[in-house]
Amino acid sequence: MMLDLGVAFGRVFFVMMFVLNLGGLLTWVERKQSAIMQDRIGANRASIFGFRIMGLFHPLADAIKMLTKEDFRPARADRFLFSLAPFVSVFFALVAFASIPFGDTLRIGGREFPLQAVTLNVGILYVFAMLSLGVYGVMMAGWSSGNNYALLGGQRAAALMISAEIAIGASIMGVIMVYGSLNMQDIVRGQGRLLLGWLPAWGIVTQPLAFVLFLTAGIAATKRIPFDMPEGESEIIGYFVEYSGMKFGMFAMADFLETVVIAGMTTALFLGGWQVPWLFADGFHFPWGTTVALPHLAVVVLQVGSFALKVCAMIFVMMLIRWTLPRFRYDQAMRLGWLGLFPLSILNIVLTGAILLLFGGNGS
């Protein structure tokens, strides 16, 4: 009983800390990575007792600034919804990660625990649903501010969300067809098989088109550049114009958390999740015949580390895209979503179905 409780708490705690800390750290990553990409140094002046540690105190300083700023509410704003909106945004971004597996089963004292905050048979739909619900916070913020520009920003966000989510949903269909499950853990396990005896059957190998479509739509779902026309911080006015202080900070944080969630989903669906190439439950089996036996705990640590590394790499790629491409115009983003991503993902479903039908069903 105590063990159950402890392990359950540990799993939730791990996911919570992973997502929250990574989300908080992303403000620093964003500043530093963009600076290094642009031959700059980046924010490095915040110091405690003269220690600067590469500007790592800036997220802390940001948080203190946000918390101590005036929390202003416009006179015409809807009192309840205006306060609720940022919490809705952050909440759904936070809980979305719960069903993404970060490791295979952990055996303690003859009992098995899946390394996943919540084990759901419809895990992929759950993540998808939570991600979509996040847009309610955005629309709520736009409407309840009592500001027409905020309302328009909220509408742009809703339109972008719908066109992106449809493409996300349609592009993961191919993955579900190949691995034959809606359970994220089963999908990740399915990616541990080897094609031709040496190539890990990761989603990016079996579903390359879906990977590109999912990544594009996923970046659109995070509402960040190049799909930041709900917000458009430098020119157009977004849904959180009327927000200040930590409520504004929560919207900014929700974007970072969504980045983490999209990176986690991409990892789980296309990059093999916690899989390490050629690592099985009892150790490495290299395709050239070498075998390295590993204890159970070492395998679990390798798997969790591999998952964390892949998520960080995905975040790096998403940041790279965010700091490279210019923003799409509203009509361009709509065109891309409805005339580009959506038909291509339907095509992907048809192609996957045809290939599965021709070369043996259910992903083998």
Partner: protein
């Protein structure tokens, strides 16, 4: 548009590869610097208060009044600089010099740096080479207008810039400057 440009993906990937190239090159330089390399530079940033761009020797910085051997100003209060000053920021009150060979000297010599446009005409106009703009001091901002007025004593105390391009004398702070 070429066909390759119409498919946004190819151009986007090229762009991402370009920025990724910058990232990894700069990151390598940063790591090399952290490991002790003196020459590797991962950024073009000059971190201003600690690092400075080398200034030109012709730089017109904060004025100073040149001293004679005995420490009195070389200025003879001829009013040339006050006359030529386009911003009218120099105020001179002349007085008798104790030495009969020198006709006059300034009793007061104030420069209002809040008005000065750093044109250097005063230096050009001076027949005695008594005013120069070679202190190398650039930071003398103040929160008040009064704090921008530099008196004769302050200007006399300044030294020319050192060989390394750094100011040799401290920035004189006006007594009534509110910080």
């Amino acid at each position: 548009m070429r066909l390759g440009q119409r498919f946004y993906v190819i151009e986007a990937v090229q762009g991402v590869l370009l920025t990724a190239g910058h990232f990894f090159r700069n990151m390598g330089a940063h790591v090399a610097r952290a490991l002790g390399s003196r020459t590797a530079r991962g950024a073009v940033t000059i971190q201003y208060p600690e690092e400075r761009r080398p200034y030109s020797p012709r730089l017109r910085s904060l004025h100073r009044l040149v001293r004679r051997e005995d420490g009195s100003p070389r200025c003879v209060a001829c009013m040339m600089c006050e006359t030529v000053c386009p911003a009218r920021c120099i105020y001179i009150v002349a007085t008798e010099h104790p030495n009969p060979e020198i006709e006059k000297m300034p009793e007061r010599f104030d420069i209002d740096l809040g008005k000065c446009v750093f044109c250097g005409y005063c230096v050009e106009a001076c027949p005695e080479d008594a005013i120069r703009m070679d202190t190398g001091i650039l930071e003398f901002s103040s929160y008040s207008r009064r704090g921008m007025i530099y008196t004769k004593e302050m200007l006399l105390s300044l030294e020319p810039v050192g060989a390394d391009g750094r100011p040799t004398s401290p920035v004189p702070i006006p007594a009534n400057r509110t910080v």
